[in-house]
């Protein structure tokens, strides 16, 4: 009876979208905490905000530099404290109400007055004096100090008429399609199934023009291998965060295209040069020998980034310069030949010989006035990169007479150690944004922890007046060319002090179904990434391959009916046989 019921019901369960237009399915490898753009902090959740809302300005697809979006143009006052944005007129929210300058004014003012509203993007308004909208087409932002970061505020602009009545931004209804569904981005959120998927429909009235697909689905995957399998079986159209092994396995597969793009992250070997907290008190248990810049320089000379790129990353990385990766070409520091610390074991040995580190009988050097030169090298046990890089680095340092003990630990343990300065060397790194400020700020004096060990977001504990001066200059400079010059000088200063050694910039590895999608807009062009951009370009620019591709969905579902039918038959037949056998057994044994 039940089986008959299931069989009868099957035709009803045919997916609704089979009759509709083109759907773009994206595998999400990271989780979603909130849809509310004020409180959404996890990466996938911020991507939802990028698709659903327009920003004041947006990093361009071409070069990831500030470009018009909600603001058509902007000017700064001579004292660089007042920014005036001309807001685009004639665009509408998805509920039909016009988008005006009052919406960004509301968004920023809410962040200035409501602590919860600062959860996700609070750092962008920390230097704001006031925000106002003198008329529908003009937005004026005044800052306390000159802030070049105002040209690229990574803050989704929400509709005032929807959000102003919501007094408590932690209210669960702010995570529902009823509230977040009113947007003006290229895709409009239509359905959210917690921990499972987010659905969007294309915004047909989007001011840049409607997207070429009708529906967008972000599907949560908790297992990378399962996601790769789903791409092969045409359950998703695009995936990212592939490992080199997965990427190589997908290369050359039928109907699958791969995308190797320059990444936003730098990997580095951080050196404990005698780190101090914000009160300039020494902290941690680093080897005091590393206070000697000649020793740090020798370590830098003993590391070969080319081998790291080729052997550790299998070629899926770029040779390093400064801490801003080459994907952000305007701010990336690529040292000239004379400035560069080259891989040269002989030179490294000579540096140490000259500094008085004498080699003992076992090949290990002695620190002048102290014991053997032994260093601990920490890394993330969870990252294959750290495991392999630690082997190479340990080998090179041994060649120059430094004994290295490798200590790969959990992410949390490494975090504890690095925050407390309890390391000699460790493998770390950070992701840069299109605006260079955040990654440069990680190496300023004020980023160091206070006396209680709290309040830190430093990467290296670096504290150098010259660097801080260059950092302040780039922050105050609104001319992009001059600002980039300061940013490059700051990177050169950091590299010259050998507080860290940048090892490489890992590539972003992505893949998509070439039978369903012909192309995506990359950022930057021509070879940047598709997903996890600073902007909506990748998914907005998705161009479907010919219409014939959409039919493969049906195959999967035909399979479902066959299998369900088979299960029903097995249950019925099996049950019958069992009942029969029972009777027969009883007869046999009586």
């Amino acid at each position: 009876m039940l089986a008959a019921g299931i069989l009868a019901a099957m035709p009803l369960a045919v997916p609704a979208h089979a009759q509709q237009g083109k759907t773009l399915r994206v595998a999400l490898i990271t989780g979603i905490d909130h849809l509310n753009p004020f409180t959404a902090t996890l990466l996938a959740a911020t991507q939802v905000g990028r698709l659903n809302y327009e920003f004041l300005t947006i990093p361009s697809a071409e070069k990831a530099e500030p470009a018009p979006a909600l603001a058509e143009s902007w000017t700064t006052s001579p004292d660089k404290l007042t920014w005036t944005f001309k807001i685009r007129q004639g665009t509408k929210w998805s509920d039909g109400k016009p988008v005006t300058a009052k919406d960004p004014a509301f968004t920023f003012n809410r962040m200035l007055t409501d602590e919860t509203a600062r959860t996700a993007n609070g750092s962008y308004v920390s230097s704001f004096e006031s925000v106002s909208a003198p008329d529908d087409a003009t937005l004026v932002i005044k800052t306390k100090t000159p802030q070049s970061t105002v040209s690229l505020l990574d803050v989704p602009i929400v509709p005032e008429h929807v959000w102003a009545p919501i007094k408590d931004l932690t209210d669960p209804k702010t995570d529902t399609a009823a509230v977040v569904g009113v947007g003006n981005g290229p895709y409009l959120l239509s359905e959210y199934k917690q921990n499972e998927y987010v659905k969007f429909k294309a915004n047909k009235d989007y001011w840049r023009g409607a997207p070429k697909v009708d529906e967008l689905q972000l599907l949560v995957f908790k297992d990378a291998e399962a996601a790769v399998n789903a791409l092969k079986q045409n359950e998703v159209d695009v995936i990212n965060r592939l490992t080199p092994t997965q990427f190589d396995a997908l290369k050359g597969q039928p109907n699958i295209a791969t995308n190797k793009a320059p990444g936003r992250r730098y990997d580095a070997l951080n050196i404990n040069f005698g780190v101090q907290n914000a009160d300039n008190q020494p902290i941690g248990n680093g080897n005091p020998a590393l206070k000697d810049i000649r020793l740090r320089k020798a370590i830098a000379q003993a590391i070969d980034p080319k081998t790291i790129v080729d052997r550790v990353m299998g070629g899926y990385a770029q040779l390093p310069g400064g801490i801003i990766p080459s994907v952000y070409s305007a701010y990336h520091w690529d040292p000239a030949d004379a400035e560069r610390t080259k891989f040269d074991l002989a030179a490294a040995n000579a540096t140490l010989d000259a500094a008085g580190y004498v080699k003992g009988g076992d090949g290990v050097r002695t620190v002048p006035g102290a014991g053997r030169l032994e260093l601990r090298l920490s890394g993330h046990a969870s990252r294959p990169y750290d495991q392999r890089a630690a082997q190479y680095i340990g080998g090179w340092l041994k060649d120059i007479g430094i004994s290295v003990r490798s200590e790969l630990v959990s992410d949390e343990e490494l975090n504890d150690r690095s925050n407390a300065g309890n390391y000699d060397l460790y493998i770390g790194g950070y992701s840069a944004n299109p605006d260079p400020d955040s990654v440069l700020s990680l190496h300023t004096c004020s980023a160091r922890p206070n006396a209680q060990g709290k309040g830190a977001n430093t990467d290296t504990f670096f504290c150098d007046p010259q660097y801080d001066d260059l950092y302040a200059k780039q922050l105050a400079e609104t001319d992009l060319g001059k600002r980039a010059e300061y940013a490059k000088q700051a990177q050169a200063r950091l590299a010259g002090q050998y507080a860290n050694v940048v090892l490489d910039y890992q590539n972003v590895l992505e893949a998509y179904r070439s039978d369903t999608f012909a192309s995506f807009t990359r950022q930057p062009q021509p070879e940047g990434q598709i997903l996890e951009q600073s902007g909506y370009w990748g998914l907005y620019g998705a161009t479907p391959a010919g219409q014939q591709a959409a039919s493969s969905e049906g195959g999967g579902n035909t399979g479902l009916w066959i299998v369900l039918g088979a299960v029903v038959v097995v249950v019925l037949v099996g049950g019958g046989v069992l009942i029969g056998r029972r009777g027969r057994n009883a007869d046999d044994r009586e």
Binding site: S123, E235, D437, A456
Partner: protein
């Protein structure tokens, strides 16, 4: 958690020797057991709080990883989360919250922990519950058959298969099933975004998603029921009362069903209840492979950071359900086995 369960012998020895059969004795027995269970839960709450605080890591620096954050923001964040307060005051805040049914707020997602557990409880109960029910049914049936014809080809083959599946890593089996079924079953989640609205299509859609993860768990789970059932039935096989029953001229089938199996079933009841207690703990790896939105996945993601309020909350819910099921097992045992009552 296996150790927390009283074995049947243990259960019977715990019964008060002075206890008389009748209302007051049973009442006292029930009250003692409930008291013991409550004491366990309190212990779990205290232990859970301090245990997870021994984990390394700083939740705040984990939360702001790779995001531009100013030192002022960091200070605000620490204050919001209350992680700067002394541990004892954090503990009493936590206890106070628990008394009001408040499990705290997740560090990572900043949502009430109870909501997060609530929305994941049902998927886990559905998945692990259905796999357990099927595993019990299939395991017991195979175990009885194997014991009754022990050393037969059926017995040896079934025991071999069960032991092999029992030793296979769950995530590996799950991935293999995903690859082998070649897209016939969905590879992620519990719902398809394309399923038509309405009760029936939605139910069928969930069943479609349920098949592979359920099958994976079933394959791994059923061996324990089969082997326990098999060995306890083997223990009864040569008992005198079975000879008597056969001598009365009963059919073999009836001897097995009415005499041998009910006696051999008792240890299995214990195991089944213990497993039902563990149902909510989910199956971390299987839930991860199939992106099943259950509690196991929540534990897995919360270990990073670590997200202490979530870990504590899940720990209390899991331990609470194990304690509750053990309590039920003890009470039910008294009903099922008259020997326990009359000792």
């Amino acid at each position: 958690m296996t150790q927390t369960l009283s074995s049947p012998d243990h259960a019977s020895s715990l019964v008060d020797p002075d206890e008389r059969r009748g209302g007051t004795g049973t009442l006292r027995f029930v009250l003692t057991r409930i008291g013991g269970a409550l004491a366990s839960v309190v212990l779990v709450i205290v232990l859970g709080f301090f245990l997870f605080r021994m984990l390394p890591g700083d939740p705040v620096s984990f939360m702001i990883r790779d995001r531009p954050t100013s030192p002022q923001q960091l200070a605000e964040l620490r204050e919001q989360l209350g992680v700067d307060k002394p541990m004892l005051s954090q503990f009493f805040n936590y206890l106070g919250g628990l008394l009001h049914g408040d499990f705290g707020t997740s560090y990572l997602e900043r949502r009430p922990v109870l909501d997060m557990i609530g929305e994941r409880l049902w998927p886990t109960v559905l998945l692990v519950g259905s796999a357990t029910v099927l595993a019990v049914a299939i395991g017991l049936w195979l175990g009885i058959r194997a014991a009754w014809k022990h050393d037969s080809f059926f017995d040896r083959a079934q025991t071999g298969i069960a032991l092999t599946l029992w030793s296979v890593p769950q995530f590996w089996l799950g991935l293999i099933l995903l690859v082998v079924t070649n897209g016939v079953f969905p590879s992620r989640g519990m719902h398809s975004p394309d399923a038509a609205p309405g009760f029936l299509p939605q139910t069928l859609d969930v069943l479609h998603h349920l098949i592979l993860p359920c099958l994976t768990l079933l394959a791994v789970f059923y061996a324990q029921y089969m082997l326990i059932m098999r060995s306890s039935l083997l223990g009864e096989m040569n008992a005198d009362y079975l000879t008597t029953a056969r001598a009365k001229g009963l059919r073999d089938d009836l001897v097995r069903r009415r005499h041998a199996v009910p006696n051999a079933l008792l240890p299995t009841v214990t195991l089944v209840f213990m497993q039902f207690g563990m149902v909510v703990s989910g199956a971390v790896t299987v839930e991860a492979v199939f992106s099943w939105p259950g509690l196991g996945q929540l534990v897995y993601t919360s270990l990073h950071g670590p997200d202490l309020p979530v870990l504590q909350g899940v720990f209390v819910v899991l331990a609470g359900s194990v304690v509750l099921m053990n309590l039920l097992a003890e009470l039910l045992y008294r009903v099922l086995d008259p020997r326990v009552r009359t000792t």
